[in-house]
Symmetry: C2
Subunit: 610 residues, 2 copies
């Protein structure tokens, strides 16, 4: 069997398998799989180039199911390609199975987790950008999208960027099955709406009947031969296609359908597809060209955001696998220093933070080490992408500048005040918050080798260099910057400097303060904190330029859970306005005066207040 007959039969097999797997599991999305089955069948049998035995091969095409709920279709493809056995196929959605409810990279043929709609295409843009500009290999990126998810703005960020960067190696296959979860989409089967919007963005758009395998094949050929712009295939399909009880019916989203569908679909098939091998090819490598690593003189001043940019540029000289992305604020985050040093490895993502993080996720699939930066406040825009990156077990490095009230006049909309809380609550994350230039540089270097999501918070204003350029800052460590016996002051970033000033003032009063620099907020240095509590009569003051919830204060309490302490937590508790940085630190009660005052009260208290 070959050609259209094969494609059709394979499509039917994929439908049957979607029905079988979800019937066995008692849940899942067979109907959403059935609409896209022919689109997937023709792709697998005829166009997709992939070495199943070597999923990490740089030459492989990439396939992303942006509509991740169609996981029975994903797994059906893997079965048809011989990657997974019938036995494993039928473990769909069981505890411990690699075949989870939505695809994740627990399976080696899945590059990224999907299931939060609107993410697959932006990640595909990252893969396609890498293919063009970094790897420089002719692989293609295929993304199967749902029509419902076209309402997500992130899809249109991707569409705009793909056209701007002329990603003709990217094909979006839009499965217009008309029906969302709870009813019809905004545009139903109005294919012209989708193709019109896509064309207005500069895409090639092809409208087809998504169940006509010859039309599908022709559209894929056109996509493969179109240069200078990406192609979208806008395919009219039927949800639940092939099983009359559910076909094009509302009320069947995300529900297992009865095994009786298998019969109507012509029964179980066991077609095995030999997926075409990719063209062999070596990925491009950027040669290291080490430059001097930034070193800052003790006592000089430099903003940690500036040190981030300088260190990142130096890192890029040392390592050819480091790339940088920024959200149109590279002159604020100082990613521009990297851009100027390594323009071929810098990606301007404009004001599209979701696309920026998604592109980083795509690039890391191929082994690149992406560093993406914007204001810490605007990282909130991409929080769902960060969350999903953790499910993808992606390794990306994020930098949020302009943390806290210390930015000053720009006001609360620009102040990152929830970044520590939100990034701490990302599975497997590392959260770093340097206070000086040399520490920043060392931590940037360390980030390059970290697994998972790492986040660095930088400060807008210049701060004093307090560490020697050769000092080491292990991830998970903390520094005792000043020794003392009466009270421990804990800060990080801007508040570390306030804590040091407070310690000076306390010293004049005869109070001996230990100062701890908690530059590694997660993982946290439990031992250093315990020793400090023991050494300073269990008196601790934490000051942080962040809301009171989920940041440094709670990280410390969690590390010392259950220990008896005289504990004061200074944090931002009221909505700030504009003002000078020092005015705003004072107004928030997190400056040196407030820290010293809190410490004095702890020391003066006769008994531990409850």
């Amino acid at each position: 069997m070959t050609g259209p007959e094969l494609w059709h039969e394979l499509g039917q097999q994929l439908r049957v398998d979607a029905v079988r797997a979800s019937a066995e599991a008692g849940s899942g999305h067979p109907t959403s799989s059935m609409s896209a089955a022919d689109l997937a069948a023709v792709l697998l049998a005829e166009h997709f180039r992939y070495d199943i035995q070597n999923p990490k091969s740089p030459a492989n095409d990439r396939l992303i199911f942006s509509k991740g709920h169609a996981s029975p279709l994903v797994y059906g493809l893997f079965r048809a390609a011989g990657a997974i056995s019938e036995e494993e196929f039928m473990t769909y959605r069981e505890l411990g199975s690699r075949l989870q409810g939505h695809p994740t990279p627990v399976l080696p043929w899945v590059d990224v987790a999907t299931g939060s709609l609107g993410q697959g295409l932006p990640i595909g843009v990252g893969l396609a950008l890498a293919g063009k500009k970094l790897d420089r290999l002719p692989f293609r990126v295929w993304v199967i999208c749902g029509d419902s998810e076209m309402a997500e703005g992130s899809m249109w960020e991707a569409i705009e960027h793909a056209a701007f960067y002329e990603l003709d190696n990217l094909t979006a296959i839009i499965d217009v099955n008309r029906l969302g979860q709870r009813g019809e989409t905004m545009h139903g089967w109005d294919l012209g709406y989708y193709s019109g919007r896509l064309r207005s963005c500069g895409w090639n758009a092809i409208e087809i009947d998504g169940h006509d395998v010859e039309q599908i094949d022709a559209a894929y050929r056109e996509a493969e031969s179109t240069t200078g712009r990406p192609t979208a295939i806008v395919a009219k399909t039927l949800k639940g296609k092939g099983y009359s009880k559910v076909e094009d019916q509302e009320g069947w989203h995300g529900k297992a359908v009865a095994e009786e569908g298998v019969e109507e679909l012509g029964g179980i098939r066991n077609i095995r597809v030999d997926v075409k091998q990719p063209e062999a090819g070596e990925r491009h490598r950027f040669e290291p060209a080490p430059t001097e690593w930034p070193r800052y003189e003790l006592g000089s001043v430099v903003a940690t955001r500036k040190a981030y940019g300088e260190a990142l540029a130096a890192l890029g000289g040392e390592r050819g696998d480091v790339v940088a992305l920024d959200g149109e604020v590279s002159n604020s985050t100082y990613a521009e220093i990297f851009r100027d040093a390594h323009p071929e490895r810098y990606f301007e993502m404009y004001i599209a933070e979701q696309q920026m993080v998604a592109a980083a996720v795509g690039m890391q699939v191929l082994g690149w080490k992406p560093f993406a930066s914007t204001f810490a406040a605007f990282m909130t825009r991409a929080y769902d992408f960060v969350r999903m990156a953790a499910v993808s077990r992606a390794t990306i490095k994020l930098c949020g500048s302009h943390a806290g009230v210390s930015i000053g006049e720009d006001g609360p909309s620009q102040m990152g005040l929830e970044d520590l809380a939100s990034f701490r609550a990302v599975n497997g994350s590392t959260v770093l918050y340097p206070c000086d230039g040399n520490q920043t540089a060392k931590l940037v270097r360390a980030m390059a080798d970290l697994e998972g999501i790492s986040f660095m918070r930088t400060t807008r204003g210049a701060t004093s260099v307090i560490y020697d350029a050769d000092e080491a800052f292990p991830i998970g460590g903390a520094k005792i910057v000043r020794d003392g016996e009466d009270v421990t002051l804990i800060g990080a970033g801007i508040t570390l400097h306030e804590a040091l000033k407070a310690a000076d003032a306390l010293g004049e009063d005869g109070v001996s303060a230990r100062v701890i620099d908690l530059y590694s907020v997660k993982p946290i240095d439990v031992e250093t904190l315990r020793e400090a509590a023991d050494a300073t009569q269990r008196r601790i003051v934490v000051a942080e330029d962040h809301w009171a919830e989920g940041g440094i204060g709670e990280a410390v309490l969690s590390a010392l859970a259950g220990e008896e302490l005289s504990f004061v937590h200074l944090a931002v508790r009221e909505l700030p306005g504009s003002g000078k940085p020092e005015e705003l630190l004072a107004a928030a009660g997190i400056d040196a005066d407030h820290i010293a005052q809190a410490a004095r009260q702890l020391v003066q208290a006769e008994a531990v207040a409850r």
Copy 2:
């Protein structure tokens, strides 16, 4: 002076004022204000209808600066309209001034804070939807947008929804000044790109010279007379227009320019505009039609998500000001129960969570009480909008369903596991997590009267009703569900039921466990927690279906900061997969067995382990 001469002179005044204010402050965005000055001048002088003395008048037009960094222009308009004095005008960006770096509702003429780009237009969609469907008044919504922010996907969510809902009362004014923060935008002065995209979405789009006041006036007239679809005015402008040193130059974004610009612009003017009064009009009110409040039998089972929907529908019967929005999952969140009861007050936002939250923010400006729902996991998509809503001092109610691993088979992409952390770290927020139907219903009712951002977390599976329908659940309270003396077990939502089962098992072993239902995660009931620690030998076990960071465990530690405790924190620490709910609770170590085991170890320990 009238007509074009007035408009031109007013434009110059607004430029001069932008230069003056930011020169005085030493920071700010004069050049971004100067590009939009003529667009703003013609609007204020000729088209905008607004009672400056009564900014909350329901008849007023609404003006949103989506490009919030152009705040000197916003404040210049207020000065020209006589709302603020010259003296106050010159306090721009000072500590305590109402004229912050980016506009916030500290000023009564500012409806919502802007400054995170891409939010003003989606909020405008909310205002325009309310104008059409709720207030039913002829006011117009004008949104001044930057060209850079058109890269944000959220703008295109807004554009799609505005066309779908035929919001001809909405006008987007796009200030295409070509230059972003660090250089040119993707499309420069390609007005056709923007208007083509807008038209493909169903908008009326008009391309004009944004410094030709007569063209501007004509475009506004066309917008006012266009029916059935929104209008966008795509205006070619010059950043820094009117001052040759900075006009159309790179490197001047967000920088004060010298006072010498004032001279070139023709000096200080003091034009005072009498803004046209709006047509008088009474807003539509929905008559209350109370229905029976949901009551669940003790011992019956109901999912809290279902109780949310039923209570919301009942609340909508009691109060005509309650409205609901959902992100295309209303049959999962059960917002559909409200939709069916009150279709006129229900808004389908499709899979566009940013637009959903933004619409809620817009509606609350006009006094409506919006409840917006989606999966808790997907609330992360709108986190920047929630953050900014807090800066806006907006009152919105959000519900995230499908919390935690207890959802089961769908897998980690669908599990809200960071929602408590992220919502706790929102300024002034309330975070609620009910465990049974009656509690849910009471808390939904309480949410209606809460100020600020409130978030309710609901559970997918059905849980036993443990509270009487008449039980009270004050915000900031906690319930002692079971008394005991040996150990305190703290849970909420799904883990409260696990804690109860654990208490039963412990009782069989002769261990007397107190069980606390921490339904109000923020604010938290410090007193009840302290009493519990005192009454149960300071032994506490917290179990939560959430990551370990920033959730219930840390909230408890924060409430009991510094108290000596024997504390065990059971939370989700490894990435879950698919499985049955009870399997996943066990795998995460947060089920009854793990809680009982942790409690036994605490009780058996001779000394408090450090």
